[in-house]
């Protein structure tokens, strides 16, 4: 059971510095990127008025997320739509990888969700400064009273922690329960149901939750 807490590493010495790479996470992330590129290629290859199956899939996704972005952001900030749908695609495909034997979710390594959490944080604050101007942005930190500033700053930082640990905890927890129960029942009967629930169902919900929170953080900053 130690394989879950163990992360395989690649080491690289560079001018006296010893760099450490999480090899499995890296490979799986590249695989997810390849899948997204392949999907993008298939969905846009032969665009026609009567869409084929890949194009339909692409249109459904774009339509759904355009609706969500239109609800949350005003006209000026619709440009964040590609970001939002990309975050969803990456995290969703990452979570789905765990269902396939031999592959593992990049999101099971805390570094991946944390990277996306930090990315979302900076983009939300950049959007906030851009929309409201620096002065209005800074004045929000002293609301409702000036001594609340430290609390507001910690509150903002805690969003990064909560958004990334939520995804990590769910995916890690799902893989633990699948592995432990599979081991306890000698791989009989239960594993497919567990994979369907924790891999497909919870993985999809958590990818959506992560994306929606990223979108809502941008929306709160730009209002």
């Amino acid at each position: 059971m130690n394989e879950l807490t163990h992360i395989p590493h690649w080491y690289l010495s560079l001018g006296g510095m010893r760099l450490e790479f999480n090899s499995e996470t890296l490979l799986m992330s590249w695989l997810v990127m390849a899948l997204i590129v392949a999907f993008g290629f298939l969905a846009t290859r032969k665009l026609s008025f009567l869409p084929g199956s890949w194009q339909t899939l692409g249109e459904i996704m774009v339509g759904t997320f355009q609706g969500l972005v239109a609800d949350a952001l005003d006209e000026r900030n619709r440009k964040y739509f590609p970001l939002v749908i990309t975050v969803f695609l990456f995290i969703w495909l990452s979570n789905m990888l765990g269902v396939i034997p031999g592959l593992s979710e990049p999101t099971r390594d805390l570094n991946t969700p944390l990277a996306y959490g930090v990315l979302g944080f900076f983009i939300a604050h950049y959007a906030g400064i851009k929309t409201k101007g620096l002065k209005a942005y800074l004045s929000e930190y002293v609301q409702p009273m000036f001594f609340m500033a430290p609390l507001n700053i910690i509150g903002e930082l805690s969003k990064v922690v909560s958004i990334s640990f939520r995804l990590y905890g769910n995916i890690m927890g799902g893989s633990i329960i699948i592995m432990v129960v599979t081991d306890l029942v000698y791989s009989l009967v239960l594993p497919p149901a567990l994979n369907a629930f924790f891999g497909l169902f919870v993985g999809t919900i958590q990818a959506f939750v992560f994306t929606m929170l990223t979108l809502v953080y941008i929306s709160v900053q730009t209002k």
Partner: protein, 406 residues
């Protein structure tokens, strides 16, 4: 009579198994009972839908029970644990593992009952929405299990990580603190994330047209209600992964135990409070779908402010863990940090719930009149929350006094 280390570790693993499934059974049973009671009410209202309601009740109960099943799995692993040659600290980590899983299953089990109950009632009131309600119930209660999953991740790490590198003193307090921190913190968030799921499912039965808007709000509200549990998990990770070699055994053990209790206990209140706020937001959007954007923003502001006491608890935990204390075996030296943790922990419960209620009623009003009074009500809410928070600030001041003055 002297016992061997192995006997102690074996005893601790049995005790841990007992705690795990003993505490873990509380919440799931409550949630399932609540769902069953409401299913009876629903069938009484609309006997023609009896079969569908019964089926929905069983599905809902099965998901609400999953927290209890996690606890059962951990208990089984603990019972059949191979303890040969385990160091003494393993006894504490196994006990903590049982506590982490058992306590964290309480909230999620109870919370999972809300969506199941509301789905049964909704099917009775509006039979054509049956499928939408069952789907939403499943999503809502699956999200609701997240705090229990956090507890399980920590419980699993406590069980299978190699502890021989940590010193017994104060390592035992670090693992106990980790277990208590994640376990206690998950209670409030588990209940809290069930509340919006229930309100959204009920609302969807009345307003099926706005299903997508309601569900999106529910997911955001539930997810934010889980932030306190995430703080508990982060503190547990710190306690587990920091190397405590070289720290003085006395009074560091008291600091580490206090660190676990400070975040764990102080997270209970904000978790429940955030749940109240999210519940009113989901219900409000179901009443007036056009208000969704305003209501979601107000909800998030209210929830963030209501989380401040768990942030105080987190702050006290960080101070307790990372500001080194002088070696001393006097009673004052260990009583002060432990009391500081307990003080901030309990002090954070009330303000968290109170501020959540303030935000809940504000959100409720704003949903009814989203164009008119929004700004005014948000101001009132923030002032009211600040006043309600003052007791939490007193707890923080006393904790800091205990830590730095005495």
């Amino acid at each position: 009579m002297a016992f061997s280390t192995e006997t102690w570790v074996q005893a601790a693993s049995f005790l841990g198994a007992g705690f795990s499934v003993g505490f873990g059974a509380i919440g799931a049973a409550l949630g399932e009972g609540y769902a069953a009671g409401n299913a009876s009410r629903a069938i009484g209202k609309n006997p023609a839908m009896g079969g569908a309601i019964l089926k929905n009740m069983l599905i809902g109960q099965a998901v609400a029970e999953s927290a209890g099943i996690f606890a059962l799995v951990i208990a089984m692993l603990l019972v059949f644990m191979d303890v040969q040659g385990a160091p003494m600290i393993e006894a504490w980590s196994l006990l903590a593992s049982g506590l982490a899983m058992g306590l964290s299953a309480i909230g999620s089990g109870a919370g999972g009952g809300f969506p199941a109950a509301e789905a049964c009632l909704g099917i009775a009131d509006n039979p054509p929405t049956q499928n939408a309600l069952t789907t939403n119930m499943l999503i809502g209660s699956a999200v609701c299990q997240t705090p229990a999953i956090f507890g399980m991740v920590v419980a699993f790490m406590l069980m299978f990580m190699d502890w021989s590198g940590q010193p017994l003193w104060p390592g035992w307090a670090a693992v106990m603190g980790a277990g208590l921190s994640v376990g206690l913190a998950a209670i409030g968030s588990g209940v809290g994330s069930g509340m919006p799921a229930g309100a959204a499912t009920g609302g969807m039965a009345r307003q099926p047209g706005a299903a997508t808007t309601i569900r999106t709000n529910m997911l955001i509200g539930s997810a934010v209600s889980q932030t306190p549990a995430i703080f508990g998990m982060v503190v547990a990770f710190m306690l587990m992964f920091v190397d405590w070699n070289g720290t003085p055994a006395w009074p560091t053990w008291a600091s580490l135990l206090g660190a676990g209790l400070a975040t764990g206990l102080s997270a209970i209140g904000p978790g429940i409070g955030n749940g109240f706020t999210a519940q009113e937001a989901s219900a409000g959007i179901a009443r007036v779908p056009e208000s969704s954007s305003t209501v979601t923003t107000t909800m998030l502001i209210g929830q963030t402010v209501a989380q401040s006491t768990v942030i105080y608890g987190f702050l006290v935990s960080l101070i307790l863990m990372f500001i080194p204390r002088e070696a001393s075996e006097t009673m004052v030296a260990w009583a002060a940090p432990l009391s500081a943790g307990i003080c901030m922990g309990f002090g954070g419960i009330g303000p968290g719930v109170g501020e959540g209620l303030a935000a809940a009623y504000t959100v409720n009003r704003i949903a009814r009149d989203y164009e008119g009074v929004g700004v005014l009500l948000t101001r009132v809410m923030l002032v009211g929350q600040a006043v309600s928070e003052s007791t939490g600030i007193y707890a923080l001041i006393v904790s800091l006094l205990l830590l730095f003055v005495i």
